[in-house]
Symmetry: none
Subunit: 237 residues, 2 copies
Protein backbone atom coordinates (compact mmCIF):
# COMPACT_ATOMS: atom_id res chain seq x y z
CA UNK A 1 0.00 0.00 0.00
CA UNK A 2 1.12 3.46 -0.87
CA UNK A 3 4.34 2.28 -2.41
CA UNK A 4 6.33 4.81 -4.33
CA UNK A 5 6.29 4.32 -8.09
CA UNK A 6 9.46 3.44 -9.94
CA UNK A 7 10.47 5.97 -12.57
CA UNK A 8 11.65 4.21 -15.72
CA UNK A 9 13.55 6.24 -18.30
CA UNK A 10 13.46 4.43 -21.62
CA UNK A 11 16.37 5.17 -23.96
CA UNK A 12 17.16 8.60 -22.50
CA UNK A 13 19.59 10.58 -24.61
CA UNK A 14 21.33 13.20 -22.48
CA UNK A 15 22.94 12.55 -19.11
CA UNK A 16 21.88 16.05 -18.12
CA UNK A 17 18.24 15.11 -18.50
CA UNK A 18 18.72 11.97 -16.43
CA UNK A 19 20.18 14.15 -13.68
CA UNK A 20 17.32 16.62 -13.92
CA UNK A 21 14.82 13.80 -13.69
CA UNK A 22 16.57 12.54 -10.54
CA UNK A 23 16.35 16.01 -9.03
CA UNK A 24 12.67 16.25 -9.92
CA UNK A 25 12.01 12.87 -8.33
CA UNK A 26 13.79 13.49 -5.06
CA UNK A 27 12.05 16.82 -4.59
CA UNK A 28 8.88 14.83 -4.13
CA UNK A 29 10.29 11.85 -2.35
CA UNK A 30 10.78 9.39 -5.22
CA UNK A 31 14.10 7.57 -5.15
CA UNK A 32 13.88 4.54 -7.42
CA UNK A 33 15.00 5.16 -10.98
CA UNK A 34 15.52 2.55 -13.66
CA UNK A 35 17.15 3.31 -16.98
CA UNK A 36 16.64 1.25 -20.10
CA UNK A 37 19.43 1.36 -22.64
CA UNK A 38 20.74 4.91 -22.13
CA UNK A 39 22.15 6.23 -25.39
CA UNK A 40 25.45 7.43 -23.94
CA UNK A 41 26.06 4.55 -21.53
CA UNK A 42 26.22 4.63 -17.76
CA UNK A 43 27.48 6.17 -15.59
CA UNK A 44 27.20 9.44 -17.47
CA UNK A 45 29.35 12.32 -16.20
CA UNK A 46 26.73 14.91 -17.15
CA UNK A 47 24.09 13.43 -14.90
CA UNK A 48 25.62 14.29 -11.52
CA UNK A 49 25.88 18.07 -11.89
CA UNK A 50 22.33 18.29 -13.25
CA UNK A 51 21.00 16.32 -10.31
CA UNK A 52 21.87 19.26 -8.05
CA UNK A 53 22.40 17.08 -5.04
CA UNK A 54 20.03 14.24 -5.80
CA UNK A 55 23.00 11.93 -6.13
CA UNK A 56 21.40 9.16 -4.16
CA UNK A 57 18.87 8.62 -6.93
CA UNK A 58 21.62 8.30 -9.54
CA UNK A 59 23.77 6.05 -7.38
CA UNK A 60 20.90 3.66 -6.86
CA UNK A 61 19.67 3.78 -10.45
CA UNK A 62 19.58 0.39 -12.11
CA UNK A 63 20.43 -0.08 -15.76
CA UNK A 64 18.65 -2.57 -18.02
CA UNK A 65 19.04 -3.65 -21.60
CA UNK A 66 15.37 -4.06 -22.24
CA UNK A 67 12.11 -2.63 -21.00
CA UNK A 68 10.89 -6.14 -20.23
CA UNK A 69 13.73 -6.67 -17.78
CA UNK A 70 13.25 -3.25 -16.21
CA UNK A 71 9.60 -3.94 -15.50
CA UNK A 72 9.77 -7.65 -14.71
CA UNK A 73 8.79 -7.20 -11.05
CA UNK A 74 6.22 -4.45 -11.65
CA UNK A 75 2.48 -5.02 -11.35
CA UNK A 76 1.17 -1.72 -12.71
CA UNK A 77 2.87 -0.05 -15.65
CA UNK A 78 1.92 3.42 -16.78
CA UNK A 79 3.24 4.89 -20.03
CA UNK A 80 3.51 8.65 -20.39
CA UNK A 81 2.71 10.04 -23.78
CA UNK A 82 1.84 13.41 -25.19
CA UNK A 83 0.53 12.36 -28.54
CA UNK A 84 -2.83 10.81 -29.08
CA UNK A 85 -2.49 7.26 -30.13
CA UNK A 86 -4.84 4.71 -31.49
CA UNK A 87 -4.34 2.50 -28.47
CA UNK A 88 -7.30 1.26 -26.51
CA UNK A 89 -6.08 1.91 -23.01
CA UNK A 90 -7.28 4.10 -20.22
CA UNK A 91 -5.80 7.59 -20.44
CA UNK A 92 -5.23 9.16 -17.04
CA UNK A 93 -4.06 12.50 -15.79
CA UNK A 94 -1.04 12.46 -13.45
CA UNK A 95 -3.51 13.16 -10.65
CA UNK A 96 -5.72 10.18 -11.42
CA UNK A 97 -2.71 7.94 -11.88
CA UNK A 98 -1.27 8.98 -8.52
CA UNK A 99 -4.57 8.18 -6.91
CA UNK A 100 -4.47 4.69 -8.40
CA UNK A 101 -0.83 4.13 -7.53
CA UNK A 102 -1.18 4.88 -3.85
CA UNK A 103 -4.07 2.47 -3.56
CA UNK A 104 -2.53 -0.28 -5.67
CA UNK A 105 -1.25 -3.59 -4.44
CA UNK A 106 2.11 -4.43 -5.94
CA UNK A 107 4.74 -2.14 -7.42
CA UNK A 108 3.90 0.56 -9.94
CA UNK A 109 6.20 2.02 -12.56
CA UNK A 110 5.85 5.04 -14.82
CA UNK A 111 7.62 4.93 -18.17
CA UNK A 112 9.08 8.00 -19.84
CA UNK A 113 10.39 7.81 -23.38
CA UNK A 114 13.40 9.35 -25.08
CA UNK A 115 13.55 13.15 -25.03
CA UNK A 116 12.88 13.68 -28.68
CA UNK A 117 10.70 10.81 -29.74
CA UNK A 118 8.93 9.63 -26.60
CA UNK A 119 7.87 6.04 -26.12
CA UNK A 120 7.54 3.78 -29.12
CA UNK A 121 4.27 2.02 -29.80
CA UNK A 122 5.60 -1.33 -28.61
CA UNK A 123 6.82 0.27 -25.41
CA UNK A 124 3.43 1.81 -24.75
CA UNK A 125 1.96 -1.61 -25.37
CA UNK A 126 3.42 -3.07 -22.16
CA UNK A 127 1.52 -0.53 -20.07
CA UNK A 128 -1.98 -1.07 -18.85
CA UNK A 129 -2.72 2.65 -18.73
CA UNK A 130 -1.48 5.83 -20.31
CA UNK A 131 -0.67 9.03 -18.47
CA UNK A 132 -1.11 12.22 -20.44
CA UNK A 133 -0.63 15.65 -18.93
CA UNK A 134 -3.49 17.89 -20.05
CA UNK A 135 -1.61 20.63 -21.76
CA UNK A 136 -2.14 23.74 -23.85
CA UNK A 137 -3.35 22.32 -27.18
CA UNK A 138 -1.58 25.12 -28.99
CA UNK A 139 1.73 24.74 -27.19
CA UNK A 140 2.77 21.40 -25.79
CA UNK A 141 6.43 21.42 -24.90
CA UNK A 142 7.00 19.49 -21.71
CA UNK A 143 10.52 18.22 -21.31
CA UNK A 144 11.44 14.96 -19.65
CA UNK A 145 12.16 16.37 -16.20
CA UNK A 146 8.95 18.41 -16.25
CA UNK A 147 6.88 15.36 -17.08
CA UNK A 148 8.62 13.49 -14.28
CA UNK A 149 8.12 16.27 -11.78
CA UNK A 150 4.39 16.54 -12.42
CA UNK A 151 3.92 12.80 -11.85
CA UNK A 152 6.13 12.86 -8.74
CA UNK A 153 4.34 15.94 -7.42
CA UNK A 154 0.92 14.34 -7.78
CA UNK A 155 2.13 11.21 -6.04
CA UNK A 156 3.62 13.26 -3.21
CA UNK A 157 0.26 14.82 -2.47
CA UNK A 158 -0.74 11.51 -1.00
CA UNK A 159 2.26 11.38 1.31
CA UNK A 160 2.74 13.26 4.53
CA UNK A 161 4.19 16.16 2.61
CA UNK A 162 0.73 17.33 1.76
CA UNK A 163 0.47 19.79 4.59
CA UNK A 164 2.54 22.88 3.98
CA UNK A 165 4.55 24.09 6.91
CA UNK A 166 2.12 24.88 9.63
CA UNK A 167 1.12 28.47 9.58
CA UNK A 168 1.69 30.15 12.84
CA UNK A 169 -1.40 32.26 12.33
CA UNK A 170 -2.77 33.49 15.56
CA UNK A 171 -6.53 33.37 15.78
CA UNK A 172 -8.52 36.58 15.67
CA UNK A 173 -8.49 38.33 19.02
CA UNK A 174 -11.50 38.04 21.31
CA UNK A 175 -14.24 40.48 20.50
CA UNK A 176 -13.61 42.69 23.52
CA UNK A 177 -10.10 43.40 22.32
CA UNK A 178 -11.43 44.32 18.91
CA UNK A 179 -14.06 46.53 20.54
CA UNK A 180 -11.39 48.18 22.66
CA UNK A 181 -9.37 49.07 19.60
CA UNK A 182 -12.43 50.37 17.78
CA UNK A 183 -13.61 52.40 20.78
CA UNK A 184 -10.22 54.02 21.09
CA UNK A 185 -10.33 55.02 17.41
CA UNK A 186 -13.89 56.28 17.65
CA UNK A 187 -12.94 58.40 20.67
CA UNK A 188 -10.18 60.07 18.72
CA UNK A 189 -12.39 60.57 15.69
CA UNK A 190 -15.05 62.13 17.86
CA UNK A 191 -12.56 64.72 19.02
CA UNK A 192 -11.80 65.47 15.40
CA UNK A 193 -15.49 65.77 14.48
CA UNK A 194 -15.04 62.93 12.02
CA UNK A 195 -18.61 61.79 12.60
CA UNK A 196 -20.21 65.15 11.79
CA UNK A 197 -23.02 65.71 10.89
CA UNK A 198 -24.95 63.83 13.62
CA UNK A 199 -27.39 62.22 11.21
CA UNK A 200 -24.48 60.47 9.50
CA UNK A 201 -22.77 59.38 12.71
CA UNK A 202 -24.30 55.95 13.05
CA UNK A 203 -23.84 55.01 9.40
CA UNK A 204 -20.23 56.10 9.43
CA UNK A 205 -19.50 54.24 12.63
CA UNK A 206 -21.10 51.13 11.15
CA UNK A 207 -19.02 51.37 8.00
CA UNK A 208 -15.86 51.68 10.02
CA UNK A 209 -16.78 48.87 12.36
CA UNK A 210 -17.45 46.59 9.43
CA UNK A 211 -14.19 47.24 7.73
CA UNK A 212 -12.23 46.92 10.96
CA UNK A 213 -13.95 43.64 11.75
CA UNK A 214 -13.19 42.13 8.36
CA UNK A 215 -9.47 41.40 8.87
CA UNK A 216 -9.79 39.14 11.88
CA UNK A 217 -6.72 40.75 13.43
CA UNK A 218 -5.04 38.87 16.23
CA UNK A 219 -4.21 40.34 19.64
CA UNK A 220 -0.74 41.45 18.65
CA UNK A 221 -2.03 43.22 15.58
CA UNK A 222 -4.67 44.97 17.64
CA UNK A 223 -2.05 46.19 20.09
CA UNK A 224 -0.02 47.51 17.18
CA UNK A 225 -3.01 49.44 15.93
CA UNK A 226 -3.71 50.83 19.37
CA UNK A 227 -0.16 52.14 19.31
CA UNK A 228 -0.93 53.82 16.02
CA UNK A 229 -4.06 55.41 17.40
CA UNK A 230 -2.19 56.57 20.47
CA UNK A 231 0.29 58.42 18.29
CA UNK A 232 -2.65 60.39 16.92
CA UNK A 233 -3.76 61.63 20.30
CA UNK A 234 -4.04 65.35 20.35
CA UNK A 235 -0.80 66.74 21.63
CA UNK A 236 -2.43 69.65 23.35
CA UNK A 237 -4.36 67.46 25.73
Amino acid sequence: MNQAPIIVLVRPQLGENIGKAARAMLNFGLTEMRIVNPRDGWPNPSAGPAAAGADIVLERARIFDTLAEATADVSHIYATTVRKRGVTKAVLTPEAAANEIVHAQGRSAILFGAERSGLETDEVAVARSIITVPINPEFGSLNLAQAVILCAYEWSKHQGLESPPKTELDPPAPQEELDGMIDQLFGLLDQRNFFYPPERTNATRLTLRNLLTKPGWNSLELRTLRGVWSSFRDRRS
Copy 2:
Protein backbone atom coordinates in the same frame (compact mmCIF):
# COMPACT_ATOMS: atom_id res chain seq x y z
CA MET B 1 -13.95 35.29 -13.27
CA ASN B 2 -11.46 32.58 -13.83
CA GLN B 3 -8.84 35.01 -14.96
CA ALA B 4 -5.39 33.66 -15.53
CA PRO B 5 -2.84 34.72 -12.93
CA ILE B 6 0.02 36.98 -13.87
CA ILE B 7 3.44 35.45 -13.30
CA VAL B 8 5.79 38.02 -11.79
CA LEU B 9 9.50 37.23 -11.79
CA VAL B 10 11.22 39.42 -9.23
CA ARG B 11 14.90 40.18 -9.92
CA PRO B 12 15.52 37.06 -12.03
CA GLN B 13 19.18 36.45 -12.72
CA LEU B 14 19.57 34.30 -15.83
CA GLY B 15 17.83 34.91 -19.12
CA GLU B 16 17.76 31.16 -19.60
CA ASN B 17 15.56 30.79 -16.53
CA ILE B 18 13.21 33.50 -17.75
CA GLY B 19 12.86 31.57 -20.98
CA LYS B 20 12.23 28.31 -19.16
CA ALA B 21 9.59 29.98 -17.02
CA ALA B 22 7.88 31.24 -20.17
CA ARG B 23 7.88 27.73 -21.58
CA ALA B 24 6.48 26.33 -18.34
CA MET B 25 3.71 28.95 -18.37
CA LEU B 26 2.59 28.47 -21.94
CA ASN B 27 2.43 24.71 -21.54
CA PHE B 28 -0.47 25.32 -19.20
CA GLY B 29 -2.03 28.29 -20.92
CA LEU B 30 -0.53 31.18 -18.96
CA THR B 31 0.70 34.03 -21.12
CA GLU B 32 1.15 37.11 -18.95
CA MET B 33 4.64 37.53 -17.52
CA ARG B 34 5.95 40.56 -15.70
CA ILE B 35 9.59 40.98 -14.82
CA VAL B 36 10.85 43.24 -12.06
CA ASN B 37 14.37 44.52 -12.42
CA PRO B 38 16.00 41.63 -14.31
CA ARG B 39 19.67 41.45 -13.36
CA ASP B 40 20.98 41.30 -16.93
CA GLY B 41 18.56 43.78 -18.49
CA TRP B 42 15.94 43.13 -21.11
CA PRO B 43 15.62 41.81 -23.74
CA ASN B 44 17.99 39.03 -22.82
CA PRO B 45 19.38 36.95 -25.71
CA SER B 46 19.48 33.79 -23.57
CA ALA B 47 15.74 33.84 -22.91
CA GLY B 48 14.49 33.03 -26.40
CA PRO B 49 16.28 29.72 -26.97
CA ALA B 50 15.28 28.46 -23.51
CA ALA B 51 11.64 29.32 -24.17
CA ALA B 52 11.59 26.56 -26.79
CA GLY B 53 8.88 28.23 -28.82
CA ALA B 54 7.05 30.12 -26.10
CA ASP B 55 8.19 33.37 -27.69
CA ILE B 56 4.82 35.01 -27.38
CA VAL B 57 5.17 35.04 -23.60
CA LEU B 58 8.56 36.75 -23.81
CA GLU B 59 7.44 39.22 -26.46
CA ARG B 60 4.52 40.32 -24.33
CA ALA B 61 6.49 40.34 -21.07
CA ARG B 62 6.41 43.71 -19.35
CA ILE B 63 9.42 45.04 -17.46
CA PHE B 64 9.14 47.10 -14.28
CA ASP B 65 11.62 48.86 -12.04
CA THR B 66 9.77 48.02 -8.85
CA LEU B 67 7.48 45.36 -7.52
CA ALA B 68 4.98 48.06 -6.60
CA GLU B 69 4.66 49.11 -10.23
CA ALA B 70 4.44 45.52 -11.42
CA THR B 71 1.54 44.78 -9.09
CA ALA B 72 -0.24 48.14 -9.16
CA ASP B 73 -3.34 46.75 -10.89
CA VAL B 74 -3.42 43.44 -9.03
CA SER B 75 -5.98 42.58 -6.35
CA HIS B 76 -4.61 39.26 -5.11
CA ILE B 77 -0.89 38.83 -4.66
CA TYR B 78 0.65 35.46 -3.83
CA ALA B 79 4.31 35.11 -2.85
CA THR B 80 6.08 31.82 -3.44
CA THR B 81 8.60 30.87 -0.78
CA VAL B 82 10.33 27.71 0.27
CA ARG B 83 11.67 28.78 3.62
CA LYS B 84 9.61 29.04 6.72
CA ARG B 85 9.25 32.61 7.73
CA GLY B 86 7.88 34.35 10.74
CA VAL B 87 5.23 36.06 8.67
CA THR B 88 1.65 35.80 9.75
CA LYS B 89 0.04 35.03 6.44
CA ALA B 90 -1.91 32.09 5.16
CA VAL B 91 0.33 29.45 3.57
CA LEU B 92 -1.25 27.64 0.64
CA THR B 93 -0.30 24.77 -1.61
CA PRO B 94 -0.27 25.51 -5.36
CA GLU B 95 -3.49 23.51 -5.51
CA ALA B 96 -5.27 25.59 -2.89
CA ALA B 97 -3.98 28.81 -4.42
CA ALA B 98 -5.23 27.79 -7.86
CA ASN B 99 -8.61 27.09 -6.36
CA GLU B 100 -8.70 30.59 -4.89
CA ILE B 101 -7.43 32.26 -8.03
CA VAL B 102 -10.05 30.80 -10.32
CA HIS B 103 -12.80 31.97 -8.00
CA ALA B 104 -11.36 35.42 -7.29
CA GLN B 105 -12.68 38.72 -8.47
CA GLY B 106 -9.93 40.98 -9.76
CA ARG B 107 -6.55 40.05 -11.15
CA SER B 108 -4.22 37.67 -9.34
CA ALA B 109 -0.45 37.57 -9.51
CA ILE B 110 2.07 35.03 -8.27
CA LEU B 111 5.50 36.33 -7.31
CA PHE B 112 8.66 34.30 -7.79
CA GLY B 113 11.96 35.53 -6.35
CA ALA B 114 15.48 35.46 -7.68
CA GLU B 115 16.89 32.01 -8.44
CA ARG B 116 19.36 31.90 -5.60
CA SER B 117 17.83 33.96 -2.85
CA GLY B 118 14.09 33.89 -3.45
CA LEU B 119 11.84 36.75 -2.42
CA GLU B 120 13.03 39.22 0.17
CA THR B 121 10.97 39.79 3.29
CA ASP B 122 9.69 43.15 2.08
CA GLU B 123 8.64 41.55 -1.19
CA VAL B 124 6.71 38.84 0.63
CA ALA B 125 5.09 41.60 2.68
CA VAL B 126 3.05 42.90 -0.26
CA ALA B 127 1.35 39.53 -0.65
CA ARG B 128 -1.74 38.48 1.24
CA SER B 129 -0.89 34.79 1.03
CA ILE B 130 2.12 32.59 0.60
CA ILE B 131 2.39 29.63 -1.74
CA THR B 132 4.72 26.86 -0.64
CA VAL B 133 5.12 23.63 -2.56
CA PRO B 134 5.08 20.75 -0.07
CA ILE B 135 8.38 19.16 -0.79
CA ASN B 136 10.73 16.46 0.45
CA PRO B 137 11.95 17.89 3.75
CA GLU B 138 15.32 16.26 3.20
CA PHE B 139 15.80 17.48 -0.35
CA GLY B 140 14.16 20.66 -1.47
CA SER B 141 15.63 21.83 -4.74
CA LEU B 142 12.92 23.27 -6.93
CA ASN B 143 14.21 25.62 -9.55
CA LEU B 144 12.38 28.68 -10.81
CA ALA B 145 10.77 27.07 -13.85
CA GLN B 146 9.67 24.06 -11.81
CA ALA B 147 7.98 26.26 -9.24
CA VAL B 148 6.28 28.14 -12.07
CA ILE B 149 5.15 24.98 -13.83
CA LEU B 150 3.55 23.51 -10.70
CA CYS B 151 1.53 26.68 -10.13
CA ALA B 152 0.56 26.90 -13.80
CA TYR B 153 -0.34 23.21 -13.89
CA GLU B 154 -2.63 23.50 -10.88
CA TRP B 155 -4.32 26.53 -12.39
CA SER B 156 -4.84 24.72 -15.68
CA LYS B 157 -6.79 21.97 -13.98
CA HIS B 158 -9.61 24.41 -13.46
CA GLN B 159 -9.87 25.39 -17.04
CA GLY B 160 -12.61 23.28 -18.60
CA LEU B 161 -14.58 23.39 -15.36
CA GLU B 162 -17.81 25.21 -14.79
CA SER B 163 -17.54 28.47 -12.97
CA PRO B 164 -19.48 28.59 -9.72
CA PRO B 165 -21.94 31.36 -8.98
CA LYS B 166 -20.43 34.78 -8.56
CA THR B 167 -20.03 36.15 -5.10
CA GLU B 168 -21.26 39.67 -4.60
CA LEU B 169 -18.23 40.78 -2.62
CA ASP B 170 -16.24 43.62 -4.08
CA PRO B 171 -12.77 42.42 -4.88
CA PRO B 172 -9.79 43.71 -2.96
CA ALA B 173 -8.63 47.02 -4.36
CA PRO B 174 -5.69 47.04 -6.75
CA GLN B 175 -2.35 47.13 -5.01
CA GLU B 176 -1.63 50.76 -5.82
CA GLU B 177 -4.72 51.86 -3.91
CA LEU B 178 -3.61 49.84 -0.92
CA ASP B 179 -0.14 51.32 -1.21
CA GLY B 180 -1.62 54.81 -1.37
CA MET B 181 -3.54 54.26 1.83
CA ILE B 182 -0.50 52.82 3.57
CA ASP B 183 1.77 55.61 2.35
CA GLN B 184 -0.63 58.21 3.65
CA LEU B 185 -0.68 56.56 7.07
CA PHE B 186 3.10 56.20 7.15
CA GLY B 187 3.50 59.88 6.28
CA LEU B 188 1.33 60.86 9.23
CA LEU B 189 3.10 58.47 11.55
CA ASP B 190 6.45 59.84 10.46
CA GLN B 191 5.35 63.30 11.54
CA ARG B 192 4.45 61.83 14.90
CA ASN B 193 7.81 60.06 15.31
CA PHE B 194 5.91 56.78 15.47
CA PHE B 195 8.80 54.99 13.79
CA TYR B 196 11.41 56.14 16.32
CA PRO B 197 14.07 54.86 16.98
CA PRO B 198 15.52 54.54 13.43
CA GLU B 199 16.78 51.00 13.92
CA ARG B 200 13.19 49.87 14.52
CA THR B 201 11.68 51.83 11.63
CA ASN B 202 11.82 49.12 8.99
CA ALA B 203 10.53 46.39 11.25
CA THR B 204 7.63 48.53 12.42
CA ARG B 205 6.73 49.55 8.90
CA LEU B 206 6.82 45.90 7.85
CA THR B 207 4.56 44.88 10.72
CA LEU B 208 2.06 47.56 9.81
CA ARG B 209 2.19 46.77 6.11
CA ASN B 210 1.52 43.11 6.82
CA LEU B 211 -1.46 43.74 9.02
CA LEU B 212 -2.92 46.31 6.63
CA THR B 213 -2.48 43.90 3.71
CA LYS B 214 -4.26 41.07 5.48
CA PRO B 215 -7.85 42.33 5.16
CA GLY B 216 -8.05 42.58 1.38
CA TRP B 217 -10.04 45.79 1.65
CA ASN B 218 -11.94 46.94 -1.40
CA SER B 219 -11.65 50.38 -2.96
CA LEU B 220 -14.51 51.84 -0.97
CA GLU B 221 -13.06 50.60 2.29
CA LEU B 222 -9.69 52.08 1.42
CA ARG B 223 -11.26 55.45 0.67
CA THR B 224 -12.98 55.32 4.04
CA LEU B 225 -9.68 54.67 5.76
CA ARG B 226 -8.02 57.50 3.88
CA GLY B 227 -10.75 59.71 5.25
CA VAL B 228 -9.87 58.50 8.73
CA TRP B 229 -6.20 59.24 8.19
CA SER B 230 -7.03 62.69 6.83
CA SER B 231 -8.87 63.51 10.01
CA PHE B 232 -5.61 62.88 11.86
CA ARG B 233 -3.67 65.44 9.88
CA ASP B 234 -1.97 67.88 12.13
CA ARG B 235 -4.25 70.88 12.53
CA ARG B 236 -1.44 73.31 12.86
CA SER B 237 -0.18 72.62 9.34
